[in-house]
Symmetry: C3
Subunit: 508 residues, 3 copies
């Protein structure tokens, strides 16, 4: 299987010419100094010989990246506020070469179940968050505390969520008068929920493939491809960095634009991008953002950008025009979040622990609130912690808004929790009556709360409409979207429908 | 409370450096001459000393604006076609300084209920359309004639709209077999309908706040924050300019891009942006708009832009490449609108008067058409006026389309009114039969037409689908959006649902 | 009617100055050489004299185009890989002038039913695909093989589609307990389905119009305006080039951006743009596309662009950074498509013949699959052809993805066909039972399958949700959009609704 690649029958000269000439897109700000690019490692050079021809898009993407144009040692020499890697040091062999193919795909080979011999090097297909942590230790540690890092287990280990998933994705069959849903296949889940939540990767064996270089052997992966936020990697680490730091350019310019968050936060269950793009903030981004600098570290309010993107409020380190810190960067997105506002039946204070499948509500469900809204308070942050997080977020708001504006906005936003939770509560009381009258089979009769038409109509309310209203209140102050597009109008319609269904069926 | 700000313990030098150095974004076209910026007034300089540090985003936004870089006197000296302010003159103290903090926030102090003593100056938090009118008199006067300027009262003073609002926003409760809706709280309305319509601002008292400068006193405002188009201001004036001329940059570049209109014209009740972005016009804007000049006054077809945005057709003054006027600028958006196509049960000729709550339909409702479609003709413009407005709009179309194109387009568009109104009429007949058979409680039995499930289903038709179809016909000529996304497909489905519900319930 | 235009009482000098000075937007790459623009033909110059003043937007659009700045002879001299016209030669009078007004609108005059005498020239209003084919022969021929070229007849000649169209667009009336739908008017169809599918143009007569040049005579066209993909032109040719090569700039930069495809591929029946814009590919386009070169021919992966747009995968010729061909350009979009995934009840292998109205399913319907899913196999491509097309598409994927990624992606995608077709089959069985129990009137009782509420609910599943899921699998790998926005969640809800409706009505 091993080959001497220098003999490879490929147009190496043409390839080198291509590498040398093509700098496809504007260099990232901060990388455009006049110093020549550092030389790649010999291992990476060997990779590039073939892969630049096999996958020109990957290589071009990487060539345009900071990873290709700086060594970790150079990056470590930046002044602290402008440093783009957080590890105190980087081990010697890595520190002095650009971060190329081999630096990541041959890193920590012994830890990766998918590592395989390839041209004399043990490489692995899937780079994990633990690989990235070698240089980006703080971000990896912060991210590990997020709900997102645990998105696979939080879904798959929660019996109620699995039940919901089955009644969305499972194959249906009707026998007599009964409609039933089968357990969804792994391939179906990977295509659906796990696309964003992340799959559990595994090595299923080895396959031989014919290539220009003869028969070669590769691992066969299950759960692949996947770039979900909570992917269970082949070194056992949780989470993937590539959903936001996309592919081989890893560009902070991409991560900071809302299109990145939109990949998973767009549907009616979490209409973040839709609400943002109908807000004043979204308007300014769409109208003027083409002139902003999305790469500056630190990121200066007013100097680099004029209105927030998702990253501004939730992740990025911000400074004023003098470089004075407004808020520290944190990949623990919850540092600025007092509430969890979507995905659950009721909104509630943020969970203390990112592993949510072990939470139990007062009525014994794997949920942060009972069906009647009572909170699993011991699993959730307390008011003092909520206040701290609210204050952190408000500090960002005040960079562009006076205090009375900020306080008025937050008062309305938190009022929205009260209102939407009251609507959910009323709808749930209606469903409970439907169940208690035997018009549908609920948990009291060992029925799934998700397998009948009227139950799914109830889901519409909390899964889509209540949280759409909350998002609109959180980001935009409300408006047309909140009322008419998946917001309060639809919320009222569900309650009327439940009432109409119950009234009619009860008469039967 | 008064302080000598020069003693303020702040990094004033650092601040001044920041102000001097940071010109964050490309200067607006027309402002980028080589002349030095005029000096701000002493009052504004005092404001900036603290607020540049407290709210760097606000100050940076303003620094990038024309307001910061020109004095009214300089602006008045432009040739008439290129003038950006319409008042014949500007009073002396204002005319010779850039339009800074104090020029607006301390203007007409005696008129503003929220004016308060702040560092020796009487300032007010909320700048009103009447403040803007000092320099922009024509725009303020034109805008005052719009439905938008009266959007608060047109909603709140119309009993039928209030009823609809209650059955969307009100809290529900179910007693026995009755579902009822409470009156929505002000905070809920402010978060929802009034976000776009505008709130009624009021001063609720005064509060002391601790600040870096000791305890300070501020007015407490209700209805704040708000930037709705029909906001009732604290000087009694109606309407806000900031929904379109956003925040402290006031940039015409923003107002002329469709993202601004999208803030309130996006949901299914008024899907303007969605239809636009699926039209040929929207395609050209999204594909090529980054190369267009959104700041030129006058705005030259072909030279500055290649396809219309919302502003092109509805507001802006347009010229050909020689500067020959195609259409005059008007902030009376209805100058080019023969029809009102959304928000009401039937489309109809535009109202004569922007105060619509006093209109009465032939059947006595506060609506421009009876439930059976008969028009309140005396309150609506006549055919001659419709023809004038149609001709004005068609003059814009003809800048890029031959006459046969334009006439064919308008013939189809007006046919769409006939068709959608026929569909609404049929649905309303079905609902009337539901009411007359006692299957739901309509106005004939003192019932709300909005509080039952089947009634809200009827609303879907006229509130969402009929007008979506009309918007598609108006802007795009129709297509996939009009048929399948909230258009004719959904319209047909409502009628089938009403029929199915009636047929089934009537059998009971 | 003939006039000597040099005497026209217009500001010709001003016009010429305008033409000379205004180069509104950045020149298309490749056109920006230093050579002076070639002179337009005398005939085109005569057109421009008036029309630049009458329709400045059209003329400016054209002035910015390659058509205005190159002659066909110059374009033919490009090296083959960079040629932008495919005809081997262009007839002499056309070859040596830029492609101006007269070159297209007076071309093949005898073939066009709308040709009319205008200032001494026989011109036609509507330029057809056969006109474009004079210079772009290969594209016209390729395009003629597409379903799109036949989109008018494929809709209008299919009785089942006409029936669906009638029950969406037709006027409803209710007599007794029967709801009926009239045949939709031509104007309504032109506004709706035919906007994208294309109208059948016809000349209805001649009209006189008063103009600045006296009374002039023009043809009256029915079906106009229209720019649908399958327009039946007045020379008998099928298809229009302007839906993608928009209006008078004909810019490849526009055609290659996804906003063009979005014009017709946006609604829930074909949510291509929505899915794309929530995918990683869409994210990269929206975040970084402003720096890409959309005009290069050939189009180099990595050098010109970093992620696919619609055109990359479906139409464009692609090369690696050295110019080595990755895939040949083809306006036969199906060359890369193994499946047809929308618009029909079941997804299925692509039809062999673009004329689909003659296809008959095993149960005798004008459909590629029976109501129970059995394929009209003899009308569809076989597995070998599917494999060829899949391989062509995968070759594009591999420019940026390793083989295991590509294979994993396609395995999941094709699994999605199995799953969505199973869901459609289950829903159809439910509807068949509804029909067989006489609860609705289906084809077995000479009823339309589209005229009752429960039938349209069944349509929702296959017309919207099954294909949304497939598009998400095809383009993005799935995720939030596929599950919650018109995908699997909604698919499950339809099945539950059909079951609930049947169970309840059967009890009656």
């Amino acid at each position: 299987m091993k080959r001497t690649w220098s003999l490879a029958p490929l147009g190496v000269c043409a390839f080198l010419a291509a590498i040398a000439i093509h700098r496809p897109f504007p260099l990232p700000a901060g990388a455009a100094d006049s110093a020549p690019d550092p030389a790649v490692s010999a291992a990476t050079e060997a990779c590039l010989e073939c892969h630049a021809l096999l996958h020109p898009g990957i290589v071009a993407d990487w060539r345009a990246s900071r990873h290709a144009r700086r060594t970790p040692a150079q990056a470590l020499a930046s002044e602290p506020a402008a440093r783009r890697l957080s590890s105190d040091s980087v081990p010697a062999p890595l520190a002095d070469s650009p971060v190329g193919c081999a630096e990541c795909h041959a890193l920590r080979a012994d830890e990766h179940a998918d590592a395989f011999e390839h041209n004399g090097v043990r490489v692995h297909v899937v780079v994990s968050s633990a690989d990235c942590a070698v240089c980006h230790a703080a971000e990896a540690e912060e991210y590990a505390g997020n709900l997102m890092a645990h998105a696979f287990g939080n879904l798959e280990d929660n019996a109620l969520y699995r039940d919901l998933q089955q009644h969305i994705l499972g194959r249906t069959s009707r026998e007599g008068d009964e409609l039933s849903f089968g357990a969804p296949a792994e391939a179906v889940k990977e295509q659906a929920c796990l696309y964003c939540h992340g799959t559990r990767l595994a090595v299923a064996g080895t396959e031989e493939r014919e290539s220009d270089f003869g028969t070669m052997s590769f691992p066969v992966l299950t759960g692949w491809p996947n770039q979900g936020v909570g992917r269970v990697n082949l070194d056992g680490s949780l989470g993937s960095c590539t959903p936001c730091h996309t592919r081989h350019s890893f560009a902070i310019e991409v991560a900071r634009q809302p299109y990145t968050c939109k990949e998973c936060h767009l549907g009616p269950d979490v209409p973040v991008y839709k609400v943002y793009s109908s807000s004043k903030h979204g308007n300014l981004f769409e109208s003027q953002g083409k002139n902003w600098d999305f790469s500056a570290v630190p990121w200066k309010v007013g100097a680099d950008f004029a209105a927030p993107t998702c990253a501004v409020c939730h992740v990025s380190g911000l400074a004023d025009a003098d470089g004075g810190e407004i808020v520290a960067r944190s990949h623990r997105m919850y540092d600025r979040l007092a509430w969890r506002i979507f995905g659950l039946i009721y909104s509630h204070p943020h969970p203390r622990n990112p592993l949510t499948s072990t939470i139990r509500s007062p009525d014994g469900l794997p949920l942060p609130a009972a069906l009647d809204g009572r909170l699993a308070a011991e699993s959730l942050i307390d008011e003092a912690e909520q206040a701290r997080r609210r204050a952190t977020m408000q500090g960002i708001c005040r960079a562009c808004h006076a205090s009375s504006w900020v306080e008025g906005h937050f008062a309305r936003y938190e009022r929205t929790h009260t209102e939407t939770n009251a609507a959910v509560s009323e709808a749930t009381r209606l469903l409970a009556e439907i169940w208690s009258r035997g018009l549908a089979a609920g948990p009291d009769r060992q029925g799934s709360p998700f397998d009948e038409a009227i139950e799914q109509r109830w889901c519409d309310l909390w899964l889509f409409y209540a949280n759409s209203t909350r998002f609109a209140a959180a980001m935009a102050g409300g408006g047309d979207y909140a009322v008419f597009a998946d917001g309060q109008y639809a919320q009222a319609q569900v309650i009327k429908d439940l009432h109409d269904w119950l009234s009619h069926r009860a008469l039967r």
